[in-house]
Symmetry: C4
């Protein structure tokens, strides 16, 4: 955009394909990433939790027992709150931290580059190298750990503030419903996260003409995942989303591990399919892109 | 975008107007197309079926009998799941395979070019020639057959996984409702598919400034078609969408043919109107476009 | 975009600011405009009417009497059908005919230029001159009359096809509801149309960076107008929308004139405010746009 | 875009970073700003109030008592009306006045520049200087006062016209609900406004590739805030939105001050976090943006 920033970029990052690896990981940079992800995750989950709180105070939700059928109105309301909150806050934060807000997304994405948007002019990173870096741990772990901790703390803070700010007991925990078994819940979380992460990879990490509108695509994919998942598993897709209310309410069901393992498996599944496409050199099959 | 891909394109596809015809149809290219359409159709229908499953477990849907009036809440929920799922997955897959996910779309679109997006800079293909190629069978059939088979298998796989992964019997078959006759159902499917295919042609196949956001327009058109069609025909518009649950449930109604003939007629109708517009040289009527 | 079309434009339209006035109004050009507007208005209203039919067959709508309170679910469903149908079909038709679909819009817009989109590079027309042309009748009336007739016939055709294709009596007429008086209905139609036309002028006729996404803005504004208007007046904003079902059902209420006068007053109000802004030279107040 | 306007800009505004400060604040410029904000705020709130009126006439809303649980359908309907109305009207007015429509937004934004969109090519303003200007009052107050008065009058006019134009008593006041205390209401308004203002700053005031679609992001963020806030505080976020119906109905609750102090605190909070990010030089942490 601006000569200043271009020269700044050249000076700081060099012309190599992975600026993040050559960039000195100063305290300030890690601080911005951690603060940004903390505030961003807080805002994303604050609005998602608060909207869920409204829906779960409705007469239909209060009257529901564990065996009740789903109420499409309540599910739609919750899905809209989660989806629009992710869309708005990713749109606001993507140029600050990438707008990850999710440990299972951030273990993959920061390997590419921190802020996956608005980079048409830069060289495209090689996905296989990047994922390998992730698998062999070739990336400085400091940033990754700082970001994940900030996200988990952001989720706890959001649950705490919603609990205090809105009347009534906090009713936003993720639990199994609709007679879903633990195994079903695990795989539902896996498939839903796989879809979300694959959309993020193809729309935000891969560069093309609509990359700058990736927040819209990500919000749409997340709304969709919530419409499907809210009734059966609570639609977590994100350990930070499940951990917050569990900590504030002190309520950890025995199957709480599925909200960590399911999203992690989903992220790995999406990355695996992406690596397969790379291996098949899918770009060459559609020349002219 | 990138010098490498441009030179790659020039080397592989020549400078002719139909790169696909000169491109060697190698095993790998067909494999990418088939794998991409299989996974894409699977994901599109997995989320659409899973959302429909949630809606059809609701108290209103369970209490409904064949003669019941429509429940706008349930219809909206199902339409959102189908529409957002097509939007998100076309957005993710359009640069891999074109994101067709539908035998009635793919019999038309691949004749133009495999991936109809992001091609402002290439020569525009002549629609009349392309449709003629389709009608006279002048296009290598291998790719077309591979893609259609992949889509049908993707639909069956999606129905199977949803059936196993979510509690309760699979309730996502397309059936006639609201006292619609078979003939009415046939023509409803035809009109709905015609709208969808015409939007795809004008927004994705024709090149203009908003072509790169075609997934949004296609998702909007499909949501609309579902709002209208779900109650009367199930809103199929796609043989792969109807075949999957029918196979998994072993339930083929006597009028099952309308989910093949209706969408096919609709695609032909949309193409026919487009050919008429081409014949009238509509572009010359609005110079300056 | 393309050298051919630019040279074509130069040859046919000259370099004057109003290509439409110098363009020979051949039979073919009028034919394309008329066919395009007929089919476009038909598709827009076919989906809007069909969705309204679904909503008005619901238990809540069937049980409602003229004095019943509004049902937000039904109103939302109808508004989504109208809004998404306008969005999708304007997106598909804007480069063919401008996607007007409404006599009250087309009496204004074609004075500017037929297809108000994708024209960043052309000179901007002077709104005051154009509106004056409209008021003094300085524009060839042939095209205007052909387009309006096509729109009215498109509305009748849509109502007729929906009546035959969907079960049950056609229930999509625009009538006053919620104890709204005729005068209230007239002014509600006026304000709603004024908003829609002003958004069209500022987003589609005025040229700027998001002009190519005007179908989205127009669809949003129309959805909004329907949410407000459906309960009180049926949310017409368009004589073609009201005429179609009235003809098919042979049902013209005594206040049917408000669906012609209200939208016309609204279009004039929006144009008048735009002329005021032009007169105040609003562009100079915000230099750097 | 246009040579005339660029030369005009150069002549009027000089090449300094803050054209507004060097621009002669003529009567006409203030008049355009005031008229634009009056009409824009009127249209934004007319549609928001009218939609709320429809929702609050529904059977569920009429039957509700102060202690009733929330009705998600009504809340969604109201949120859509507010969100889509802001989206459509900001889209229409952003190039006229910036589309602020809110005293708490405008006390910040005009300090940057009047119309925060479509300015990729201009130098970026320094946020710290601008906010400091605001805090020390270094900006010509005339424009600011004129705009705020126009917004408040626009809100009153919208409430008055909706009251007269739609049947039944005006039912769009913002009141506390769901057993929310005054303190909770104050902080809910604060958090909701902080989110909205932060999205406006990052999407519209900061310049990047999607700035020209800021109306969409702002509409999404506002819809989200309404989904969360309608039940507890009425979701004001805007003194002009609360003042209008209170004046028309002559009904000022004792806690009416929270609709002035809450949004003001939220705007300050958002600006403060933005200043912190600036101070940490967040742009340098993500080179290549």
């Amino acid at each position: 955009m601006n000569t200043f920033f271009h020269s700044c970029e050249a000076k700081r990052a060099g012309s190599g394909p992975l600026p993040m690896l050559t960039l000195p990981s100063t305290i300030r940079n890690n601080l911005v990433a951690a603060i940004g992800e903390f505030v961003g995750t807080f805002l994303f989950l604050f609005f998602a939790f608060a909207g869920t709180q409204v829906a779960n105070m409705s007469a239909a939700a209060v009257a529901a027992s564990p065996g009740s059928p789903p109420d499409p109105t309540t599910v739609t309301f919750i899905s809209l709150c989660f989806g629009l909150s992710l869309m708005a806050n990713v749109w606001a934060f993507y140029r600050v931290t990438g707008g990850l807000f999710n440990p299972c997304v951030s273990t993959y994405t920061p390997l590419h580059n921190q802020t996956p948007y608005d980079k048409h002019e830069t060289d495209e990173l090689d996905g296989q190298v990047t994922l390998a870096l992730f698998l062999v741990g070739g990336l400085p772990a400091t940033r990754c750990i700082a970001v994940v901790i900030a996200q988990l703390l952001g989720g706890i803070a959001a649950a705490g503030v919603v609990s205090g700010l809105f009347p009534g007991p906090l009713a936003v925990n993720t639990t199994l419903g609709g007679n879903a078994s633990v195994v079903q819940g695990l795989f539902i979380e896996m498939f839903l996260t796989a879809e979300l992460v694959f959309v993020i990879i193809m729309v935000a990490v891969e560069k093309h003409k609509s990359t700058y509108l990736a927040p819209v695509a990500i919000g749409v994919a997340f709304t969709l995942a919530e419409l499907v998942g809210v009734f059966f598993t609570g639609g977590s897709l994100n350990p930070a989303r499940s951990l917050g209310p569990a900590v504030v309410n002190g309520s950890f069901p025995g199957y709480f591990w599925i909200y960590w393992v399911g999203p992690a498996l989903g992220a790995i599944l999406a990355c695996g399919f992406y690596v397969l496409l790379k291996w098949l050199r899918w770009r060459e099959c559609n020349p002219g892109q």
